[in-house]
Subunit: 525 residues, 2 copies
């Protein structure tokens, strides 16, 4: 397994010193890692909340100049808890933060993936500035009220919520890794595996440089036996979960055209192409009212699930009715199939439509374009170009001439219907790690122990595939390693949306969980 | 006809002195009104362009505080050309500007309607500030370039365009009325009719107080024999036109609901209601791909046209193919029916759709609402509540529960599909003045003479109904007067849209036309 990393290796284009000699005393039987981490947390809850808020105050949109500040902050905090950490940088990319903690005698190396970048924010839709973390007594929609950050020695209610971009997706793991390692250092606990931490700065922008970063750091990363993905939310029931797969994601945009300019709806209404209606017919043709995608070949594109996945699916809690009550929904797409089943087939939905204006800005015009942004979620076996091609062929079958830029006059006068299609050629690829892998039981046992303690006995949910997207394929499909997703965020964390938040109890669970995983018995695999 | 207006009359709530003794010398046969006005224009073209720009620089959104400044400016300019002009005001409304020019011995009174308010503007979509009038050598899309305002004595190219909100809709008539009256005063020309000018400040906001204003001023307005509406664009061919009818307009908004909050499209995509798709199915159900409205009863709601209208329709120029080439359109709604035919049936189109975001702001969410703003154009016989009711019943037949405010949780959990419908209860009513009225020939003759001179012999188009909307019904249906619409703006003036503009040649036509109308032979009716 882990060969010696003691000799510095010249990584391609990367001046990264990976030499690190562990100086921690070895694990004492009197104090287990999970106990130590929990005791440390209980003694320091107010400062852990404040530290989390500080981490969240760093703007972290991928490819912005300021994201490097966030990367440097994480590097310094990781160094402070004894992890040899460096920025790996590609010009024009967001830095990768790479940390190594090598344990003498360890026969196993865990890779730990977290991303520190966040979704774009439109502050006008947020209750507070997305980078001014704000503490609430509970969720806003449950009547939570703003409170001050807790002073040392005060009580911290685990139902509190901290609101800020990336609170749930995906800075919470960073806020939990740091105190776990600090508690280990202070109490002399040694992890049972070598640990390699990789903090991705481009996940919400498609991790487009991660493949190259992983090549640059391959000498280190090749040592890894299993990747653990610290990302994603808990099961919708609120129960913790681990997941063996993720969906891939891509997005594309379709624009339909009317006249060359907006037309007065009085002078031309009933005659000029009604772009909103044209787009409506096109979108309606793509999916029926029960959520079945009507695009030819859509459901022939992916790998079927195996017996283990089917069994896990059936063992999952029935939570749809509860979720529908919570979300105010009577009818779901694909009924009576459950949410976990629906996550194992490729999804197509409308991320947005813009045409003209509504509300007080609505004007009496026939808009000259109508634009739909389509979100695509892929499952194992799908690729973005494959699904894009099916969609393009579908649009053509609806009578549209396809263009890739706004049509010129000659094109407009040649075709009765024109659709511009952009994007969708690339995207993150879906991944599913076989549940039959030998390490699966080991990870499950560690996660179960943490879940039993932080939530309730037997609370851990084993999910064959989650709906969200992580760049898991780079690890499973490209690098050929097994990978398991180990989420901690509350399921209602509003990730990717305004007023993202983390429930403090979920941060405490993360601390329990990571302490378990970092001190799993060395003999299991 | 016109009874004496010399004695001031106590109008309800209105301190308006209508006493006015005309001091102009009587018409001399040597100098016709149209000749005088044309000569004056030719001698003063640069200053007329600059005066128009000054008029356009007054912001004029109805119900804003600043619109009163625009009203005061018009009042003062009208007074300066000898018209007894006052503001009529209702608290909270935009002022009505009312002017009277009584001619001793006149046996006929013309009412002249213009509106001085404009559509809302979103400056970010304009090439220049909408209230900083900018002169171009020709239309922007024809390669026009910005030029300075012309100095006295310089040449004015009639193909120049002046860009600003309301350049076409509807301040151009004001910029033409003023020089016509100034030329008459300077040259001793007397109009052949009493003239009552009414400048509406709320037309683009539905003229909601105009009915009350007209009651307040009824003692003056009752004197009017015919209303002339100085509004609307020329025929699409660029030829001038007069019109006997207008469509009514109303707007309504439909919102469909998914979950109570935006959902992550990965975690819930394929399961959560896809609001964009739900709205697409609803909109597609309302109108087929050929532009036929599919709402039950839609085409049973209006008055059929008569033989004269049918004949006028058939005499109109065939212009659809030209217009399609100009607008870059191959397929129109309702083909092979022509645009003028399509304007005589009620229209339904999508003014705007908003749901989530597109482009760089698109995020991986399933938006919790999708909103469509519907524009409705009514023809004679339609009322807004009648068409609204048909639409509401249609939405119900698609399985939606109708609400008038955002649904609460109880409502959400009771109905699988919910649509909020707002607006649409009121709107301007369509109007069509019979072409068989005795004054029709008189107005047609005057307009033909102006069109022959300013454009080309035989260029005037007689249209039974225009597509746009004016508060004509208050005059025809409520006050029981005949009314004819006499437009002057170029058809491609971008009214209601960004980069609205007026072609200078159309301002010169307006001067010819108004001079003809104000000096029509007194004997015709």
């Amino acid at each position: 397994m882990a060969r010696s990393l003691h000799a510095p290796s010249p990584a391609v284009g990367l001046a990264l010193s990976l030499a690190f000699f562990i100086t921690l005393p070895s694990l004492t039987s009197a104090q287990s890692g999970p106990d130590v981490a929990r005791a440390y947390r209980q003694a320091n809850e107010p400062s852990l909340v404040r530290d989390f808020a500080e981490l969240l105050s760093y703007p972290n949109r991928a490819f912005t100049p300021e994201i490097r500040e966030a990367a440097l902050y994480i590097r310094d905090e990781m160094r402070a808890v004894g992890v040899d950490t460096e920025l790996v940088e590609i010009e024009g990319a967001s830095p990768l933060v790479l940390g190594t903690l090598m344990v003498p005698g360890a026969t196993r190396t865990l890779g730990i993936y977290v991303h520190y970048d966040g979704q774009p924010t439109d502050p006008s839709n947020w209750t507070h500035d997305p980078f001014e973390p704000t503490l609430y007594t509970r969720a806003m929609e449950a009547g939570g009220e703003v409170i001050e950050m807790p002073a040392d020695g005060s009580e911290v209610d685990p139902e509190w919520r901290l609101y800020a971009r990336s609170a749930g997706d995906d800075k919470a793991p960073i806020a939990a890794i740091l105190p776990v390692l600090r508690s280990f250092t202070e109490s002399g606990v040694t992890p049972t595996s070598n640990l390699i931490f990789m903090f991705d700065g481009e996940e919400e922008a498609g991790s487009r440089n991660l493949g190259q970063y992983m090549e640059m750091a391959s000498e280190v990363l090749d040592e890894i036996d299993i990747w653990l993905f610290f990302d994603g939310p808990a099961h919708a029931s609120g129960r913790p979960q681990i997941t063996y797969g993720v969906r891939g994601a891509s997005g594309m945009e379709v624009t339909v055209y009317g006249a060359t300019r907006n037309l007065h709806s009085g002078h031309y209404g009933n005659w000029a192409p009604d772009t909103g209606n044209v787009l409506a017919h096109l979108l309606a043709s793509m999916k029926d009212e029960n959520g079945n995608v009507l695009i030819d070949g859509w459901y022939d594109t992916f790998d079927p699930i195996g017996a283990e996945e089917r069994a896990a699916l059936e063992a999952m809690p029935e939570w749809d009715e509860e979720l529908k009550r919570e979300l105010g929904v009577v009818k779901t797409e694909g009924e009576p199939q459950s949410l976990p089943e629906r996550l194992l087939v490729p999804a197509l939905n409308v991320r947005g439509i813009t045409s003209g204006n509504t509300g007080s800005l609505a004007r009496n015009v026939i808009p000259n374009t109508a634009v739909a942004s389509l979100g695509i979620r892929m499952v194992k076996g799908n690729t973005a170009p494959q699904l894009r091609q099916l969609i393009v062929e579908h649009i053509e079958r609806q009578g549209f001439h396809i263009v890739d830029e706004d049509p010129d006059m000659e094109t407009r006068l040649q075709y009765p219907r024109i659709a511009k299609v952009t994007g969708g050629m690339s995207g993150s690829i879906a991944s599913r790690t076989p549940m039959t892998e030998p390490f699966a039981q080991s990870i499950q046992a560690a996660a179960s122990a943490a879940a039993d303690r932080a939530f309730a006995p037997g609370s851990l949910v084993i999910s064959p595939g989650m709906g969200g997207t992580l760049p898991l394929f780079l690890f499973t499909e490209v690098a050929g390693k097994p990978a398991i997703v180990v989420p901690v965020a509350n399921h209602d964390n509003n990730q990717h949306a305004p007023d993202e938040n983390l429930r403090i109890a979920n941060l405490w669970y993360a601390i329990d969980l990571y302490a378990q995983l970092m001190t799993m018995p060395a003999t299991v695999f």
